[in-house]
Amino acid sequence: MTDHMTQSAVPVPPVAIRQPDGSLTCPHCGADVAAEEAFCEACGGRLAPTAAGEAEVPDDMAAPIDITRSIQTEPENEDTVVIARPCANCGGVIGADGYCESCGTKAPTERDHYTEYPASWVAACCDRGIRHPRNEDATAVAADPTPGGRAVLVVCDGVSTSIDSDVASLAAARAARDVLVANRPEGLGTPASRVAATSNAIAKAAASGNAAVIDNTAVGSENAASCTFAAAVVEGDLVVFGNVGDSRVYWIPDHGAGEPKELSVDDSVAQARIAMGIPREEAEHGPQAHAITKWLGRDSPDFSPLTGSLTLGSPGWVLVCSDGLWNYASEAAAIQSLVAELNPPDLNPLTLAVALVDWAKGQGGKDNISVALARV
């Protein structure tokens, strides 16, 4: 579970004022502002964006074929009750009401459990887990067909104390992914310029995710939807990553091929304690350890991601995951051992993603679980 630490203390920023001519003005200083802006250009006052960033995703017709057609994502089919599948519990027939006609077990919705497999080397699995009533996690991934190309991995973990977080987190993850797919650096450039451009794209993706969350928050909602954000963009041997909240990015080289690393840095009370010198084990299990200090959503005080990059240099896995997984294996070395133990045949990312999710469920599945993987 992800809790806000200071949610109630953070004032909700005011919405821009719509003028009779349709233009928007800053409620603080009266300057003209755009719908998607979170801050006034003139006075710097905070605003609640009322629209997503414009035209960051080029439409299919206008985009160069080599950018958009090389990236594949799964067809969108969320939120539909699957009635053709037999009951997962007893194999019985699922009724039109979404429950098994024999044992009464609720048929999982697509939202409760889904996988993504855009290319042979990239996959994701997102699952309700055991104890939570619904799946407020979301993944969104995309990849070039050929291993060694470009992959985009995004995980958003909805804050379960807020309303409609399941809808908001999925919208955020998909919006962020689409921004990262569209913002593909063109030309070769230097490694440094590629990192800078991709880091910039991750910040844009977070902003777009933030706008998506707000778009999916009822205007009158007293408990605004919110979620975390973690993204990794793999390009050949380079990974650029960023996060808001406590969803994580790991580099897990194959056993013996290098040092595993937790790349992202949580925005959480636990992380703040670790920074103060408290041992990780103690910090992650202390009171409010899961309270996050940054998130996406209408009441977010700051959704700028902390970004970084790493040149990989050995075979392994780039992993983006929610706390539903790392609750049971926080240290990068623990995940490395786990991956070695699960030993997916043919290094299949989908097999490994599902195996990691099943493993976390076997550990108790106390939270929703998201795993996104790219094989490098």
């Binding site: 019985g92 009724g95 098994c100 024999s102 009464g104 609720k106 055991i130 009533p133």
Partner: protein, 426 residues
């Protein structure tokens, strides 16, 4: 065209290891139309009047007026008959000896029926089983009758039959027709007549004074004529391995349906509900499940209403295991209310039975509990009736004293009305 809706009231959250799910399901019918007029088949009505010697002149004359008033309420095109009952049963109208024992109502049949009713003579004993058996045969003599209803009037005990004979007669006609039963005066046995009414999906009540009969009969017939849905079956599906602990109608009256289950399929039981007008009825369903892990959700029951084998409304009863005590300890007000009302009905009946048997201690205890429950569940009608039988010292603790002088009619009214429940919502 009749339309049905189902609403479910329950706390679906169960604690770790929790197994029992309780829900109140409200079934509502609208647009029912009139009996026999909706194109689904014909309706039949039989008026059964006690003409035993004990009726005497006053009650018999009142009964004639009442039977005629009921005849006046039967819609044209409805099949009907009038039975006069003593220690034997007589077909008073139509005047036939063979073939169809009922006729279609029209103005001349109505007039002829009035004429036949005016010939009633008070004579002989009482054998209600024979009356019911004749009514069953009369209904059977008309093919294609989909809705069958009778009104039975008696004034005395069933002297000329053993309880077993009456039981057999009731069993012989159960499912063949519905029967609303009324007792006039105070010389009849509530328990005996209730047995008939419950088995035949009807009501039972006392008519204390003969001059009230005519209005009661007219209203009963009007109500029956407004039931355009001939027959509906309550269905309860429970998952494989689950146990249906009970199925009760809890409003407008308490009727335990559990033992009336017929198998629809191995997981679904059917329970008769008779005909429906524009009305709501509440059912209390209790299901025991195997406990599941925290966070799991499953269906505990599908509660349906079926008309002519078609499911016309369905309510889902759910179970969700949670470790949130704030959710699992919540008491659903509808379930609590009707659980109290069911206990109230039982406490009144047990208390009156103990009183009749001379066990004043049990009677005081049970009726005291009834007073307490009536107060808790806001059943003011029950409280008013109880006040006529006991002096209430403290309704909160259920402290009462049995009244020394009680009108027999008041005691019988308390008994017949014991199963009537109040709603907690509008």
């Amino acid at each position: 065209m009749a339309e049905f809706t189902a609403e479910v009231y329950q706390n679906e959250f169960l604690p770790e290891g929790g197994t029992d799910v309780n829900a109140i399901v409200t079934m509502t019918c609208s647009g029912a139309g009139s009996a026999g007029q909706t194109g689904s088949g014909d309706a039949g009505e039989i008026i059964i009047v006690d003409t035993s010697g004990s009726m005497g002149r006053t009650k018999l004359e009142a009964a004639k007026v009442a039977a005629s008033a009921a005849v006046d309420q039967i819609l044209d095109g409805t099949w009907f008959a009038v039975v006069a009952g003593t220690h034997q049963a007589y077909l008073a109208f139509p005047l036939v000896r063979a073939g169809r024992g009922m006729v279609l109502m029209d103005s001349s049949a109505r007039q002829a029926a009035h004429q036949a009713i005016s010939q009633f003579r008070s004579d002989g004993g009482t054998a209600m089983g024979t009356w019911l058996t004749l009514a069953g045969r009369l209904f059977d003599s008309v093919p294609g009758l989909v809705q069958r209803h009778a009104i039975l009037l008696t004034d005395g005990e069933n002297h000329n039959e053993t309880p077993e004979q009456l039981t057999n007669a009731i069993m012989g006609v159960t499912g063949k027709f519905q029967c609303d039963c009324r007792g006039v005066g105070v010389d009849w046995q509530v328990a005996e007549v209730r047995r008939i009414a419950q088995a035949l999906l009807g009501s039972v009540d006392i008519i204390p004074e003969p001059d009230q009969m005519s209005q009661v009969f007219a209203e009963l017939m009007q109500q029956s004529m407004s039931r355009g849905v001939a027959d509906a079956q309550l269905r309860v599906w429970a998952p494989q391995g689950a146990q249906v602990l009970f199925v009760r109608q809890v409003s407008p009256t308490v009727e335990d349906l559990t033992s009336r289950r017929v198998e629809v399929n191995p997981l679904t039981g059917g329970y008769p509900t008779g005909s429906w007008g524009d009305e709501s009825r509440d059912y209390h369903v209790s299901v025991r499940l195997a406990a599941k892990a925290i966070g799991q959700e499953q269906l505990a029951g599908r509660v349906q209403l079926a008309v002519a084998d078609q499911v016309v409304a369905q309510g889902l009863v759910k179970a969700k295991w949670s470790d949130d005590e704030g959710l699992t300890t919540r008491i659903n007000p509808e379930v609590a209310h009707y659980t109290g009302q069911t206990e109230l009905a039982q406490a009144i009946q047990d208390g009156l039975a103990a009183k009749a048997a001379g066990d004043e201690e049990t009677a005081t205890k049970k009726l005291g509990r009834a007073v307490q429950l009536a107060a808790e569940t806001g059943n003011e009608e029950a409280t008013t009736r109880l006040r006529k039988v006991v002096d209430i010292d403290d309704s909160e603790t259920g402290t009462v004293r049995l009244k020394r002088a009680v009108e027999k009619a008041d005691e019988m009214a308390l008994d017949t009305a014991s199963t009537k429940t109040t709603r907690i919502r509008g």
